[in-house]
């Protein structure tokens, strides 16, 4: 009766997030460079949805984590709890993490992700894309660190 169930679930969630982050990041960068990327439009929309859904629930966990200040975080699986704690630590590491996601609020990034027609919302396209791309990149770094533990548990160490 092993506990790999937790590692595989966490691994899968991180992989899905990385897929969404990379898809959207490439799409935004190509858009910014004026390169047509029609074939990825649908995947980029799905990526936004995946990230919005994750960040909305993750923000709730972060709020609980920050309110409890080191006390128990309840009703949350331990790996997600670890990620929330890593995120909170990253917020105070301004050398590595300085995007909107870590310096402002998660809601702000959710707002940007939902604003697909940024130009129509009064935000210049270049600024919009850059702000979002920075946040996606830093979230990706955090998740790439997070997935290591699950990968080792599932696949072992070489």
């Amino acid at each position: 009766l092993t506990t790999q169930w937790l590692a595989i679930q966490s691994f899968q969630q991180s992989q899905d997030l990385l897929d969404a982050l990379n898809t959207l990041s490439i799409h935004l960068k190509l858009k910014l460079a004026g390169i047509p990327d029609q074939q990825r439009t649908e995947a980029a929309t799905r990526a936004r949805e995946t990230l919005v859904s994750f960040l909305e629930s993750f923000e709730h966990i972060l709020n609980v984590s920050e309110q409890t200040k080191g006390s128990a975080i309840l009703g949350i699986d331990p790996r997600l709890r670890d990620l929330a704690r890593s995120f909170s630590s990253a917020k105070s590491d301004r050398q590595r993490f300085h995007s909107v996601l870590f310096t402002k609020t998660v809601s702000e990034v959710v707002r940007l992700l939902k604003a697909t027609g940024a130009e129509g919302e009064g935000e210049p396209l270049a600024a919009y894309c850059k702000t979002l791309i920075d946040s996606l990149g830093e979230l990706r770094a955090l998740i790439e660190e997070h997935i290591h533990k699950d990968t080792v548990q599932i696949l072992g160490e070489i």
Partner: protein, 381 residues
Amino acid sequence: MREILHQSNICLLREIEKLEAWLAPISPVQELVPYHNWIVGACQLLHGKVLQNLRDLDLGRDEILSDILSTTQELSRMFSLYNQRLLSPVFRSLPSDQLCLRIVSWLHKGHRLTSNIPVGLSDGEFGIWPAPPFPTVYFMPSSAQRGLLYLPLFFHEFGHLLYACHKQQLDTAVRELQEEILDLLTPVSRRNDLYEQTEEGKRSEIAESWYKWAQELFCDAVGLSIGGPSFTRAFSAYFRMLGRSQFHLPREELTNVSHPVSWIRVKLLVERERQLGWSLEANALENEWQTLAKEMVIVEDHYGFYTDRFQPAIQQAIDTMLKEAGPYQITQGEVSCSEWVAGQCTPVCLLNRAWSMFLSDPANYSAWESRAIATFQALGV
């Protein structure tokens, strides 16, 4: 950077193509066909994503190299997962797998949320990989796969899949249980000093441990709900000889273990088995573990991680979780089934019959089991 990425993606592509070529001609047993199809589809998807990486590299844009690097690493990890873990249920497939695969397929088909999730079987300690939309892989030690007595332990593993399918609602029930446990641990009056801070830390540690523990206890209850006494018999037979750690663990180890010690699990199973009307079986199980504990001079102490005061809250939380997840509920007829008739009786009927046979006539059990397995494989559920 571009050259490194190009080379890595070409290598990955070659590896994927090798697996695809290897997978294509395999004709698995019927129960493994959905799993095989899923893996073939997943490899095709991976193949397509690597080709996309190569097309992206051809765009010649430096600003997306970091994204292509991350994607290549993500795809490499996924490939390793397929190559090292998810493909083995297909490549190691044996005709004898049909026994286990039929039982887990029957389990999956019996629940609306799991009926379309493909199943695979692999060797290893009892376990499961329950991460839909991945297919579910069940793990079982090789010898246990070839007999009937330990198969009820699959029902516990299936509980993890039910948890994954109802995660949001069950997490809420677990949170409420953790809050109750924290309340029970917190003294009415508290000091305002360093000692109290340390104590609060210990209480938090215990409350957080109960996330995994609650899920394991829920899975035990699912096992009992599906398998009836065959589950508790398999459970006890498997764990009772694993040593002192099944009864007691030092405090520092309790913090890191994902399962409550087996003695706690037995206590809760005994209580639940009595509630379900199997008092004789419950008494036997309780006596068995008390006898072993007495022989080993175990002093029961779980350092606050569990006390009998928690029991009502735990049982209530598990009742709520069972109601939400809705596992199969064994009937009295299946428990007391005197003759297993292939095609008419369920697998749980067969497994309970197996335990009755083993306990009443151990000398002739092996011959009976071989005949029962042959009939089960020939005629099915």
